[in-house]
C-alpha cells in the first residue's frame, strides 16, 4: 500500500544507529508475519515503534530478541544478532519488558528481580529509588500484584543490569491513567542514560516522550521520522495510524483528562 520507498526524514540516520534492522522477515507456521521491516534505534533518547493492531510491532521486537524465527540483518553495536539465541542476545546488553509484562506469577517480587541479575553489581539502588513500592512488596507473590506494580517489576528488571538498550513493548497497556503518567516519567528518566525502543498505542504517551519513530503497517516499515513531526501532520497520522489528533469519542461534555484513551 505505502510502497517500498521509505521516506527517511529528520535525524536518526543509519550510520550512527545503535541498533540497525534491515529486511527483517518472520514466518510462523507458514504465515508470513513480517516481510521487510527496517528500523534504526538512535544511541540516545526514545525511539518509538508505532502502528495499528496487528501491524507486527510485537513481532518485530520479539524477532530482535530471538524469540521468534527470523531472517534478515539485525546489527547491535557492531554485532550481528540474527543468528544468536535469545539469552546471548540479552547478554549483548539488551533489557526487554515484553507486552504481557512477562512476570513470573509464582515467584516473589524479589525473586523476579533476582532472576534478572546478570552481572556482578545489580543496580538495586536505582530500581528501588524509582519504584519504592517494589522494595516494600519484595516478599509478595508477583501474581497478586496489581497491573501497575507488575509493570514496575518488568521495567525494573531491565534497569538492574548495565544495559545498553531497553526495549519496552506497550508498557501502558491496561494501566490506570495515573500509572500511565508515572510510567511515562520513569521512561523519560531512563532514556536520559539508556536508549529506549518503545512500542506504544497510546499516542499521548509517545508524544510526551518524543524522539524518533518508525511506523509499521502490514508487516513492513511504512514510515520513519521524527515523532513530533508525524503526530503534528494530521494527514500522515491518519494514513499511518488510523487516527488524527482528534477529540474524545462519545461527545461527552465532561472535560476529559486529554488523550489517555487513544
Amino acid at each position: 500500500m505505502t510502497g517500498n520507498s521509505l521516506p527517511v526524514c529528520g535525524q536518526g540516520g543509519a550510520d550512527e544507529a545503535l541498533l540497525t534492522v534491515r529486511g527483517l522477515r518472520v514466518v510462523i507456521d507458514g504465515l508470513h508475519i513480517l516481510h521487510g521491516v527496517d528500523l534504526d534505534v538512535a544511541p540516545t533518547g526514545v525511539t518509538a515503534l508505532l502502528g495499528r493492531n496487528g501491524a507486527g510491532k510485537t513481532t518485530t521486537v520479539k524477532a530482535v530478541m530471538g524469540l521468534v524465527p527470523r531472517t534478515g540483518s539485525i546489527v547491535f553495536a557492531g554485532t550481528e544478532l540474527s543468528g544468536l539465541p535469545t539469552h546471548l542476545v540479552v547478554r549483548q546488553g539488551i533489557g526487554y519488558a515484553p507486552e504481557d509484562r512477562g512476570i513470573f506469577a509464582g515467584l516473589t517480587v524479589a525473586e523476579n528481580l533476582r532472576l534478572a541479575e546478570r552481572d556482578g553489581a545489580p543496580a538495586y539502588r536505582l530500581v528501588h529509588e524509582l519504584f519504592p513500592e517494589l522494595k516494600q512488596r519484595s516478599g509478595q507473590l508477583a501474581g497478586t500484584l496489581s497491573g501497575g506494580q507488575q509493570q514496575m517489576v518488568a521495567i525494573g528488571r531491565t534497569l538492574l543490569n548495565g544495559n545498553r538498550l531497553i526495549i519496552a513493548d506497550e508498557p501502558t497497556k491496561g494501566l490506570a491513567p495515573k500509572i500511565v503518567a508515572e510510567v511515562a516519567d520513569v521512561l523519560a528518566r531512563v532514556a536520559e542514560s539508556v536508549p529506549v525502543l518503545l512500542v506504544e498505542q497510546n499516542l499521548a504517551f509517545v508524544r510526551r516522550l518524543g524522539g524518533a519513530c518508525a511506523v509499521l503497517a502490514d508487516g513492513r516499515t511504512a514510515h520513519r521520522g521524527d515523532t513530533a513531526e508525524l503526530l503534528a501532520d494530521e494527514a500522515a497520522a491518519r494514513r499511518l495510524l488510523g487516527v488524527g489528533s482528534r477529540r474524545p469519542a462519545g461527545g461527552s461534555a465532561v472535560p476529559v483528562t486529554t488523550e489517555v484513551a487513544l
Binding site: 522477515r25 514466518v27 507458514g30
Partner: protein
C-alpha cells in the same frame, strides 16, 4: 471400506502385512481385532479429542463389558444375547456412577481419579473375589451358551462381521452425537469450559453424557472382544490397556473422524505382527547388537511410536494435510509473500 466388506471372501495373500490370505481365519481374526480396537479408540476419542477429557481409566469399562458378559453366562447361565445386554448395561451403569463422581474434579485431578477407579477395578479382577473372575487366569467363555454360528474356526467370518458392525456403529454414533446439539457443547467444553458455563450451561452434565456414552461403547467393545478371544483375561483391565488406547488415539490423530480408527488398527496390527517380525529368521541372523533389541516386539513398538511422534505430529490423520501444506508451502515460498498476515 469396500476392502473391509469383501475381506472374508478374498483369498488374496497380503505378504508382510498378514500371515496368510486375507480371508483366512487367522487374518480375519487379526483384522477383526484391529477393527475392535479402532472402534474402541474412536469411542475413547469422544472423551479425549471431542470433549477434552483425559481419562486414564477407560479400560475399566471395556473390562466391565467383557467380564460382566462372560460371568453372566458362566455364573448366571444367561444366554449370550441377554448376557451381552447385561454387560453393556453394567458398563454403562458403572460409567454413570464413577463418571458422576470423578467429573466433580477437573484437569489432572480428573485423570488421576479415573486412574484410581480403574486401578481398583483391575485389582479386584486380579484378586479373584469369590473365585468369580478367575484372577490372573481369567475365565473362558462357555461355548455351549454362545450361538452356534459364533463358535468354531469356520465361523470366524461371522465374528468379523460383528466386529465390523461394532465399528460402524461406533463411527456412526460418534459422528452423529458430535454433530448433535450436545456435540456442539462438547466442542465448547474442550476449547474453554469456563466460557460454556458463562452461557448458562453446566459442563458437568454434558461431560457426564460423553463419559457414559464412551463407557457404554467400550462395554460393547468388551462384548465383541469376548466373542473374538473366547474369554476374559485380566490384561484387559490394566492401566496399560488405557495407555494403549491413548497411544492409539494420538497415533491416529485425536479429534478427527478417522484418526483414532486408523491409530487403533495400526497399533493392534503392529502389536501382533511385530512379534512375528521380531521372531523372524532375518532377525535371528543379525549380529547380537541388532538382534537383541529387534527381537523384542515391545521395543519395536516403542521405537516406532517415538518415530511417529517425531515425524508425524498430529497423528496419521494429519498426514494428508501435512503433505499438502508441504507442497503449497514450498510453492508459496517460491513466490513473494504478498498475502501476508491474516
Amino acid at each position: 471400506m469396500i476392502v473391509l466388506l469383501v475381506a472374508p471372501y478374498s483369498a488374496l495373500p497380503v505378504p508382510g502385512l498378514l500371515d496368510g490370505s486375507l480371508g483366512s481365519p487367522g487374518s480375519l481374526q487379526l483384522i477383526a481385532l484391529c477393527l475392535v480396537y479402532g472402534a474402541l479408540a474412536t469411542g475413547y476419542d469422544l472423551l479425549l479429542g471431542r470433549t477434552g477429557l483425559l481419562s486414564f481409566g477407560h479400560a475399566l469399562y471395556f473390562a466391565t463389558g467383557l467380564y460382566a458378559t462372560d460371568l453372566a453366562m458362566l455364573e448366571l447361565g444367561f444366554p449370550f444375547l441377554v448376557a451381552a445386554l447385561f454387560g453393556v448395561g453394567c458398563s454403562t451403569a458403572l460409567a454413570l456412577l464413577l463418571g458422576s463422581v470423578s467429573l466433580r474434579v477437573t484437569g489432572i485431578g480428573f485423570s488421576m481419579v479415573t486412574l484410581a477407579f480403574a486401578q481398583a477395578g483391575s485389582i479386584l479382577i486380579q484378586r479373584n473375589p469369590g473365585g468369580v473372575t478367575g484372577g490372573e487366569e481369567g475365565r473362558a467363555a462357555p461355548a455351549d451358551l454362545l450361538p452356534g454360528s459364533l463358535v468354531g474356526i469356520e465361523n470366524t467370518a461371522n465374528l468379523y462381521w460383528i466386529a465390523l458392525a461394532y465399528l460402524l456403529l461406533t463411527l456412526a454414533l460418534v459422528r452423529w452425537t458430535v454433530s448433535s446439539p450436545t456435540g456442539r457443547v462438547w466442542e465448547g467444553i474442550r476449547e474453554n469450559e469456563r466460557r460454556v458455563e458463562v452461557l448458562g450451561l453446566r459442563p458437568y452434565g454434558f461431560k457426564l453424557v460423553a463419559f457414559v456414552l464412551a463407557g457404554g461403547l467400550a462395554g460393547a467393545g468388551g462384548v465383541v472382544y469376548l466373542l473374538l478371544t473366547g474369554g476374559a483375561a485380566p490384561q484387559a483391565a490394566t492401566s496399560d490397556a488405557t495407555l494403549a488406547l491413548l497411544v492409539m488415539v494420538v497415533l491416529g490423530g485425536s479429534g478427527t473422524r478417522w484418526g483414532p480408527l486408523l491409530g487403533g488398527a495400526l497399533y493392534t496390527w503392529a502389536a501382533h505382527r511385530l512379534g512375528d517380525l521380531a521372531n523372524s529368521a532375518a532377525i535371528a541372523d543379525l549380529p547380537a547388537v541388532l538382534r537383541v533389541p529387534l527381537s523384542q516386539p515391545l521395543f519395536l513398538l516403542g521405537t516406532l511410536f517415538i518415530a511417529v511422534v517425531y515425524v508425524l505430529p498430529g497423528g496419521l490423520a494429519a498426514l494428508p494435510a501435512r503433505i499438502r501444506a508441504a507442497r503449497t508451502g514450498s510453492a508459496a515460498a517460491a513466490h513473494t509473500p504478498e498475502g501476508g498476515s491474516a
